[in-house]
């Protein structure tokens, strides 16, 4: 039997959840033995396989149209979708933006900021994504496994991935839900 495939990506987060994944240190070698790491931010494949992966992991909330695409694609191509970290689970710190307007935030950063010169304007090139309200992953697509924490501890991520890679459903309770 071939190894289960895992893919991951990040959206509106800080990369800290992926760094916590790397904090499992030498156990990453164990995960690489149990599973086939496909497209992730630290590998060179760009997208989860069209033929699908067993486990898709997403970090970060959804705050623009590009993130929406990433979320939908990962959902479509994964048997099990994991929301990794507070941003994906609840929206996290970036969701503070929902308390001020998007336009106000853009205006502050690109026009009003003390250091911006007279070229200041809100970028609007068609190559750029459009901002939306910041949402948790489950507000956009159905999620199978929620792993809270900012970031979740490396031990917890290791437990979740190794269980999933062995075809079991991780059960997050007690110490595993306790973070500092």
């Amino acid at each position: 039997m071939s190894k289960p495939k895992i893919a991951s990506d990040w959206m509106a987060g800080c990369a800290g959840c992926h760094m916590s994944l790397l904090d499992m240190d030498e156990r990453i070698i164990k995960i690489a033995e149990l599973a086939d790491l496909r497209a992730t931010p630290i590998t060179d494949l760009k997208e989860p396989d069209e033929s699908g992966v067993d486990v898709g992991v997403l970090e970060g909330g959804i705050n623009n149209t590009a993130n929406e695409e990433v979320a939908h694609r990962m959902r479509q191509r994964s048997k099990i979708l994991v929301a990794l970290g507070d941003c994906a689970v609840f929206g996290g710190v970036p969701a503070l933006r929902n308390f001020c307007g998007i336009q106000e935030a853009l205006q502050r950063a690109y026009v009003e900021a003390e250091s911006v010169d007279e070229s200041g304007k809100i970028p609007s090139d068609p190559e750029l994504a459009t901002m939306t309200k910041v949402r948790a992953l489950s507000e956009v697509v159905p999620v199978d496994v929620f792993v809270p924490g900012c970031p979740p501890e490396a031990d917890v991520i290791y437990y979740v991935l190794s269980e999933l890679a062995q075809g079991r459903t991780p059960e997050l309770k007690d110490e595993l839900l306790h973070w500092h």
């Binding site: 990040w10 959206m11 509106a12 987060g13 800080c14 990369a15 800290g16 959840c17 992926h18 760094m19 916590s20 790397l22 904090d23 240190d25 030498e26 990453i28 070698i29 690489a32 790491l37 497209a39 931010p41 630290i42 590998t43 060179d44 494949l45 760009k46 989860p48 970060g60 705050n63 623009n64 590009a66 993130n67 710190v93 503070l96 933006r97 001020c100 106000e104 935030a105 853009l106 502050r108 950063a109 690109y110 900021a113 003390e114 250091s115 911006v116 010169d117 070229s119 200041g120 304007k121 970028p123 609007s124 090139d125 190559e127 750029l128 994504a129 900012c150 970031p151 490396a154 500092h180």
Partner: protein, 475 residues
């Protein structure tokens, strides 16, 4: 007809980015652009927060260098509330910062850019990653993992967690260092030095074999910018900002709190990342580079012996001029890693490092505070204005990767033009080199777009009429 190649996402960098390469009719490159495609708005939504929340909120800008934001926010708090920390607290903050430099630089060299250098730019993208490295050299990979762990453990020892620690507060830190903790950190130093030296050897061997790539890969003429000690030695925690020009002459040396007199930011329509530049020379003449290459060029020496020897060899590459090769960012990054480990030793040997005099509780409210630090990727500025309750009225952030925005954009354009030629099919390895031009700067796009947060790489080849001729993604 104009074509466009899109590379999305750019991989093995922090955050999401996209490159578009616009082609001329004859199939040669017209211009390549780097688009940073996310905006989170920290500057706005932090208005109204209390100054003491900032060392916890702003690290969420970036999980790779959360300690830089944590410390810059605390330093801005020191300045805003008029409560300079006692010396032991500064030593401990710097110790935590060295932990971060070691983990971030170590990870970048071995785990993010290492696959290009060790497996090759043209290696199969399915294996050109850290798992491929495990297969190719398991012992080296394990050492690299342990180097990162050494840095992360320093952060955890002081701040309770490896990512988003809770340690620095305005006026000092919240925990002193115990003897056993100091000795624990010390016991890991020898291995960390050995691994970094092995990395330096790998870099030098690679450079000797790939001189051709190095010489034609985005050699850019810019100013260089970074904190220095009073002797113009490399400094990562606290010091004046030094800016040198393209020929290596000092243009300015200033207290970073006055940054608005020296730096301004330019905005372009096609990216959410702003472009800082040296005001007196104007945009775009005043562009400069930061991060390891910027700092190694902007400083004259390093005040620890092993790293200083390496810096001398590095400087010899420039023959008295700054070293301009983008691929030497990797070299400079390892020299700094060596310095950071040696600096850990200096800090641990200081008798004050075990002192419990770690917090200055006397405050003299100032109304505005600026915190500056050398994050792994370059100089970071946090600038807060608050009312007398310490509630923030204005927040301005200039983040490390931003200073390199011009250089990254220029490097992408230059590498695309060097490797993609009219009449030749575009190959994956060429596009990986375009990505490597971004990767060499180790951009932190979450940071740079605190402001932004996402950086995939798609290359669209577009014809002059705007039709997409070819889209390259790796999947």
């Amino acid at each position: 007809m104009t074509q466009k190649i899109t590379i999305e996402p750019v991989t093995r960098i922090e955050g999401h980015a996209k490159v578009t390469i616009r082609m001329k009719d004859d199939g040669s490159v017209d211009h390549a652009y780097l688009h940073i495609n996310e905006f989170r708005g920290f500057e706005k939504f932090c208005e109204g927060r209390l100054y003491f929340e900032m060392p916890q909120i702003t690290p969420r800008i970036c999980g790779i260098c959360p300690v830089s934001h944590h410390l810059a926010a605390a330093k801005a708090g020191d300045d805003l509330m008029g409560c300079p920390p006692p010396r032991p607290a500064s030593l401990l903050r710097e110790l935590m910062h060295m932990g971060q430099i070691i983990q971030s630089h170590g990870m970048h060299f071995f785990e993010l850019s290492g696959p290009d250098l060790l497996l090759g730019f043209d290696a199969d993208p399915a294996y050109r990653n850290v798992v491929g490295l495990i297969g190719a050299d398991p012992q080296l990979t394990l050492k690299a993992v342990n180097l990162r762990k050494f840095g992360q453990e320093i952060i955890k020892t002081l701040g309770g967690r490896k990512i988003h620690p809770t340690f620095a507060v305005a006026g000092g830190v919240n925990k002193s260092l115990k003897v056993a903790e100091r000795d624990g950190i010390r016991s890991g130093m020898a291995d960390a030095i050995a691994t970094t030296q092995a990395g330096l050897q790998i870099m030098k061997d690679w450079a000797a074999k790939n001189q051709d790539d190095i010489n034609k890969f985005a050699v850019l003429s810019t100013g260089y910018f970074g904190l220095v000690t009073s002797n113009n030695g490399l400094e990562l925690y606290d010091g004046d900002v030094r800016l040198i020009d393209r020929a290596g002459q000092q243009l300015e040396k200033f207290d970073g709190r006055n940054y608005l007199d020296f730096i301004a930011e330019h905005v372009e329509d096609w990216t959410y990342l702003k472009f800082p530049y040296y005001k007196k020379l104007g945009w775009p003449n005043g562009v400069y580079r930061v991060g390891p290459l910027g700092r190694c060029n902007a400083s004259d020496l390093i005040e620890t012996p092993l790293a200083n020897e390496e810096l001398k060899q590095f400087k010899a590459l420039g023959n008295g001029q700054p070293v301009e090769h983008t691929l030497y960012y990797h070299y400079a990054r390892l020299i700094e890693t060596l310095f950071a480990i040696e600096r850990v030793g200096v800090l641990l040997d200081d008798p004050d490092v075990l002192s419990t005099d770690i917090l200055n509780t006397k405050q003299e409210f100032k109304g505005r505070g600026v915190g500056i630090i050398e994050a792994p990727r370059g100089t970071l500025f946090h600038d807060y204005t608050a009312d007398e309750n310490g509630q923030l009225l204005k927040v301005n952030l200039i983040v490390s990767t931003g200073h390199n925005n011009w250089a990254m954009t220029e490097a992408v354009d230059s590498v695309a033009k060097t490797y993609i030629k009219a009449g030749q099919p575009v190959q994956e390895g060429m596009l990986n080199r375009v990505e490597a031009a971004v990767r060499a700067h180790d951009p932190c796009l979450s940071c740079s777009t605190h402001a932004i947060g996402q950086m995939p790489l798609i290359v669209d080849v577009v014809d002059p009429a705007g039709n997409v001729l070819q889209t390259l993604r790796r999947d």
